[in-house]
Amino acid sequence: MFGSIDPLLLLASLMVAATPIMLAAIGELVVERSGVLNLGVEGMMITGSIVGFIAAIMTGSPWLGFIAAAFGGAAMALLFGMLTQLLMSNQVATGLALTLFGLGLAALMGQGYLGVKAPSFPDWDIPLLGDIPIIGPIVFQHDPMVYVGLTIVAGVWFFLNKTRAGLVLRAVGENHEAAHALGYHVVRVRLLAIMFGGACAGLGGAYLSIVRVPTYADSLTAGAGWIALAIVVFASWKPGRLLLGAYIFGGMTVLQLNLQAAGLPLLDVLPWIFGVIAVLILIWGITVSRSLSNNLITIVASFASFAVLASGYRALGWSFNDQLWLSASPYIATIVVLVIISAGGAPGSLGKTFHASR
């Protein structure tokens, strides 16, 4: 069924492929929860990727590269923050300008660093955990940044849901007038959130140039920043779903390349994928939540019918463009999720300009 695809390696590379977009997306999630829409993720990512790359080459240390990338991304974000929060420029326009500026700045800084390979950043063989069969190679044998990314996602979840500061940040994002009336410093909270978002985007960019590619080329990020923005919406501004979204987006990239290399048509695999998902959800419903809600039955039934549909389509022998559907699938998933949750959950003050005098 899998041909020459090794499922363990597939799942392992999924985690790696998801890391840069996950890092950028978790930063943007915090920014949007504070009520600011920063469309400059792409620009901050590419800046982080070149700043981190240069630092890693100069010092020979990938770690210093990542730290520099975080500062580089945060500096770009601060520029956005000053313009939108202090000078009250339009957030959408400023964000787009930030992307253009970042791409140009990175191309300028990247002169002289083309075709250079980043210092190697070895995988982290975690003792004991890494030796667990099946799970070990998938989850516990990656480079440290994969775990840094997961830690940040967990940290953001904890921060937003369990701390007072997180509550303040959410309040600022939901209704900045009210938060201001309560005495919270809206602009300060937002500037900090924006800088955190920039730092995360910078880390994501540097992960591309230092670990995943690992070299610098102009336009290295090639739209990853926009995918990160889409993931935030997919996740309906919740860190847990964001993790799922990043893995779906990353997984599709890896799956599509693997299927091609193995010479497997997607249509042969699709019924299996849908079938397995349906069964897994069913098992989860029976064992973990110990009850079958109507919702759950609907989801299982829809996956099962997808499987039947896919095998029926295959039996009819109609043409099917694998590449097209796989590339489109994350976006289709985003639309489906938006329809299911009816686009709820967006922070109330998202994208609105705040001025204390009003």
């Binding site: 995943r212 690992p214 102009d218 290295l220 693997n258 290399a261």
Partner: protein, 366 residues
């Protein structure tokens, strides 16, 4: 204000353009439309090098403008139209995907000359030019067939267009010639330039057992990915694409295909200056110098290097054609009989190649 000046000057150029240029008063304006960034280290990098060579050759007599990372499609029309309006005399559109857009814009500007790379549609003011990259692919295939130990060669392809399919066929024929057990795993990236995706594709091919990676995409990312795999204890070989990419030698990069557009660009600019420019179709290979084979590194056995170099010499001299029969198509039907060589144009020709040769197991995506 700027727009008004621009339109006014465009109008002036349209009215006076030919006269002014023929008298040699103004510099000849050249426009370049690039599909990737000039810093890609591959395809666009070399086109930009040729642009710089034109500037160095003619000095103040030419003025060049370029726009990089232009998507193939409607955006290209906008860029070309703007260049034509700004008074460009000659516009180079340097990717296959600009073919229809070039023809479209050229029809609107009969006085502007266009040069479209790697396409096959000509017009009175549109020339086409391409290089016989497949000759270089034949050499790569020859080396790959010798040095692979897993007998799996990975191929990162861009779009299923004749030029790319020719490359796959040429490489496969010559790999199988020296190694009957060789197998090609092909990934269509559907992009000319996306370093992250190219690196990922290389990593996937390596995971699935390939130890030689050929690429028909424009960035150096697959080279870096292979170098990283070698750092981790692997032994992967790659070839530079479009540009020499010597930074990645002697391993993983063991040789390369180098595109040298400078002589052609200089000659065509000269033709515009002399007013001798005519629409034509140019397709040059190793012999004419448009395709160069980068230094073959000592990381491969000396006898393989020697036989590869001998092949380069024979291809350059025209003694050997990279598609010489007997060759069957993938479905087993005869394409070329014993000793027959492929024709450039016509049925089943090189220019419109849309089939795999016998032995390749994959299917060309539709």
């Amino acid at each position: 204000m700027l727009r008004r000046t621009l339109l006014a000057s465009a109008a002036a150029t349209t009215m006076l353009g030919g006269v002014v240029m023929a008298d040699g008063h103004g510099p000849t304006k050249l426009g370049f439309v690039f599909v990737g960034p000039v810093g890609d280290g591959g395809w666009t990098y070399e086109h930009n090098q040729a642009r710089l060579a034109v500037e160095a050759e003619f000095g103040d007599a030419v003025e060049t403008v370029f726009v990089e990372s232009v998507p193939e499609g409607p955006d290209a029309v906008r860029v070309m139209t703007q260049m034509a309006l700004e008074g460009a005399d000659l516009i180079f559109t340097t990717s296959f995907g600009y073919m229809d857009q070039t023809i479209e814009v050229a029809a609107n500007f009969p006085d502007v000359r266009f040069e479209h790379a790697t396409g096959y549609k000509q017009a009175d003011n549109v020339s086409v030019y391409s290089a016989r990259f497949y000759e270089g692919r034949a050499v790569q295939g020859h080396i790959a067939g010798h040095i692979t130990e897993s007998n799996i060669v990975g191929y990162i392809a861009s779009f299923p267009i004749p030029e790319v399919i020719r490359g796959i066929n040429a490489a496969y024929i010559h790999a199988r010639e020296v190694n009957p057990d060789v197998e090609f795993k092909i990934i269509w990236a559907y992009t000319w330039f996306d370093p992250a995706k190219e690196a990922e594709a290389a990593a996937v091919l390596i995971e699935q057992g390939a130890d030689v990676i050929l690429q028909h995409t424009d960035s150096t990312a697959p080279q870096a990915a292979a170098a990283a795999a070698n750092d981790a204890g692997g032994r992967i070989y790659t070839f530079g694409q479009a540009s020499d990419m010597p930074e990645f030698g002697p391993l993983p990069r063991v040789s390369s295909i180098i595109d040298d557009w400078a002589p052609y660009y200089i000659a065509r600019t000269q033709a515009v200056m002399d007013d001798t420019w005519e629409s034509m179709s140019t397709w040059d290979g190793i012999g004419a110098g448009m395709v160069g084979i980068g230094d073959i590194s000592d990381a491969i056995p000396a006898e393989v290097k020697a036989s590869a170099e001998a092949m380069v010499t024979r291809l350059a001299a025209g003694e050997y054609h990279a598609f010489t029969g007997p060759i069957n198509k993938q479905d087993g039907s005869v394409w070329l009989t014993e000793g027959e060589t492929a024709s450039d144009y016509g049925d089943d020709s090189l220019a419109g190649m849309s089939f795999y040769v016998e032995g390749l197991t994959a299917e060309i995506p539709q």
